[in-house]
């Protein structure tokens, strides 16, 4: 049986402005998102990920290409008729309405009766643990609670697709961690597709069933978080995913000739007589690991060491080696993966 993609983007481009001032925000992106997927759109600021999401929502019109939701072309369909709900970075709650009224509002607009509205809003609030906050106004809630109200307002509509634009970026680190887990749990419980925009690779790696990495408006790679980490399709992806990022060495190092070579910090080993000679510039003790920052003929190299290993000091000459199977080769001209 053919599985129909819940959301399909075909050769989508978006240009803002005209003539010499035109900015190409999204450049020929084609992407299939399956039913009940948790798709992450990941990339640095200005890469076009939010614009792409807004085109799915109908808040922006594509300059070229087609958007399909449940196999229906929706380019010319109003946002309210696309069966999508969106959670904004600022939550976009109505500050003068109570939590209950905020959650009920989409139902009220659809003409749902008062009693049924209240029942459905309460059910959505219960899913997110907001029963005690129903009579409060958004201004009386914490950032995490506001974020949950925004989610409840989306849930109550029972949409086919949830769109989330960096919904955790206004939360502190601890709350962000907790809410990540809650969102994953929510996705598991709901029969909906999630499309989630973030620039935070930790969110991408921990939440997504697949990740689409964008840069300069172009789609770089789509795959599971592990795929993207293990086999980055471009030098950009290689360096964007992972903390610290992958070392990218110029041709001629680690036994390569005409390609750039990438190696993850955890795959570099300190070996006397190793191929890659460097001088230690910095040693960072992080408790559970040590990051060794070294200079190899002008190229910055970071290695992740176990605290139980021998740790050289700043200024020491060191030599690294790496398993050839752990090396990633990228074209020096296109940046694309060679093997």
């Amino acid at each position: 049986m053919d599985c129909v993609a819940q959301v399909r983007l075909e050769h989508i481009s978006k240009t803002f402005g005209d003539g010499a001032d035109a900015v190409l925000a999204v450049d020929d992106v084609t992407l299939d998102i399956e039913h009940h997927e948790f798709m992450i759109l990941l990339g640095p600021s200005g890469c076009g990920k939010s614009t792409l999401l807004r085109m799915v929502a109908g808040l922006e019109d594509p300059s070229a290409g087609d958007v399909f939701i449940a196999d229906r072309r929706v380019n010319d369909i109003e946002p309210k008729q696309r069966d999508v709900a969106m959670v904004f970075q600022s939550y976009a709650l109505y500050p003068h309405k109570t939590v209950a009224a905020n959650i009920e509002f989409p139902l009220k607009v659809r003409g749902v009766g008062k009693a049924q509205r209240a029942t459905e809003a309460r059910a959505a609030a219960e899913v997110l643990g907001l029963e005690q906050q129903l009579k409060r106004k958004p201004g009386q809630l914490s950032g995490g609670q506001r974020q949950r109200v925004a989610l409840a307002r989306a849930i109550v509509r029972n949409p086919a697709v949830f769109l989330m634009d960096e919904p955790l970026s206004n939360l502190d680190a601890k709350l962000r961690g907790d809410t990540r887990a809650e969102l994953v749990d929510l996705h598991r419980r709901l029969d909906s597709t999630f499309i989630y925009v973030t620039h935070d690779q930790i969110e991408a790696m921990t939440m997504g069933t697949r990740v689409a990495v964008l840069n300069n408006g172009r789609l770089q790679q789509v795959g599971t978080p592990q795929d993207v980490y293990d086999r980055p399709a471009t030098a950009f992806v290689a360096q964007f995913i992972g903390t610290p990022p992958m070392n990218l060495l110029p041709p001629g190092m680690l036994g390569t000739d005409d390609v750039q070579v990438g190696i993850r910090p955890e795959h570099l080993r300190l070996v006397p007589g190793g191929q890659l000679h460097a001088t230690v510039k910095q040693v960072e003790h992080l408790g559970h690991e040590i990051l060794l920052v070294a200079d190899a003929n002008g190229a910055k190299v970071v290695a992740r060491l176990d605290p139980s290993e021998f740790v050289p000091e700043v200024g020491d000459p060191v030599a690294f080696d790496a398993d050839p199977g752990r090396l990633h080769r990228f074209s020096t001209t296109t940046g694309e993966r060679v093997s």
Binding site: G58, P79, K80, A85, M86, A92, P95, H96, F105, V109
Partner: protein, 278 residues
């Protein structure tokens, strides 16, 4: 210790200045109220006496009866309320269009719209009076009300507040299926309530105190006279009761005074709108 003394002296100086300013502002009001509470002969005999001696409500009563102030107050109240509601509604609608809708020549149209603020009322009175005349609106409520139903200042004020609303609110509402009128009614207007309150209050005060336009459009028809026109007539009615008009003034100012007491917070918010963060 010395610093405390200096701070105390500065504070005392500030209070002295504020008291002096309060006296300057309140003195004319005190003088008018005092005159209104004197009998006609007493105000003629001791026109400059500032001491409240032998006060009486007889002058105010006389003003009320001779000036038909009850009718005038009702007229002014009716006209002011309708104009206020009209200005708030037209300001909301026009401001919404200028803030949220996209249409050709929006920028130039708004500039042209604002430019009308540069034209003094006095310049337009004659042509407006002719228009009212040609429409048969002389000596009518339409003549008093309709020309004041839209306010450039009101549109500008409300538009500025709308522009400060987060764009994501409009987008969230669009995704929820909310149309323009519903967004205006359920989201934009409630969030602009302090500004709308101030606009309403300013409009009410302006309409209540208006003299120039009502004096052009109401020509001796007592049934449609507003309080300010009536006071002018009262001033010339009885030369032996020189303070009759002050009694009328006190009556005319009373509703305004009550409004100011009730809505002073709105007024202050309106005056400081956009001046302070948050």
């Amino acid at each position: 210790m010395a610093a405390d003394t200096a701070r105390g002296a500065r504070k005392a100086g500030r209070y002295a200045l504020l008291i002096a300013l309060a006296v300057v502002v309140l003195f004319p009001i005190y003088a008018v109220v005092l005159q209104a509470l004197k009998t006609g002969p007493d105000s003629l005999d001791h026109p400059r006496s500032l001491l409240p001696v032998d006060l009486t409500l007889s002058t105010i009563r006389a003003a009320w009866d001779q000036g038909d102030l009850g009718r005038l107050l009702l007229n002014s109240m009716f006209v002011s309320i309708v104009v206020t509601i009209g200005v708030v509604i037209t300001s909301l609608l026009a401001a919404y269009a200028f803030a949220f809708l996209q249409f050709p020549f929006k920028g130039p149209l708004f500039v042209a719209f604002l430019a009308t603020m540069l034209v003094p009322t006095e310049v337009t009175v004659v042509i407006n009076e002719r228009t009212a005349d040609s429409l048969g609106w002389i000596n009518s409520y339409q003549g008093l009300i309709v020309p004041s139903l839209a306010s450039t200042f009101g549109v500008f004020l409300v538009r500025q507040v709308f522009l400060q609303l987060p764009g994501e609110l409009r987008e969230a509402a669009a995704l929820d299926g909310v149309g323009h009128l519903r967004f205006l009614w359920e989201v934009a207007a409630p969030l602009s309530r302090p500004t709308l309150g101030a606009l309403g209050l300013f409009t009410f005060l302006g309409t209540w105190n208006a003299y120039l336009w009502p004096s052009q459009v109401i020509r001796g028809d007592r049934a449609h006279e507003t309080i300010q026109i009536g006071l002018e007539r009262l001033k010339n009615s009885d030369i032996s009761k020189i303070n009759l008009v002050t009694g009328g003034l006190v009556v005319a100012a009373l509703p305004i005074f009550i409004m100011l007491v009730l809505f002073q917070r709105q007024l202050v918010r309106g005056l400081t709108a956009g001046a302070v963060k948050g």
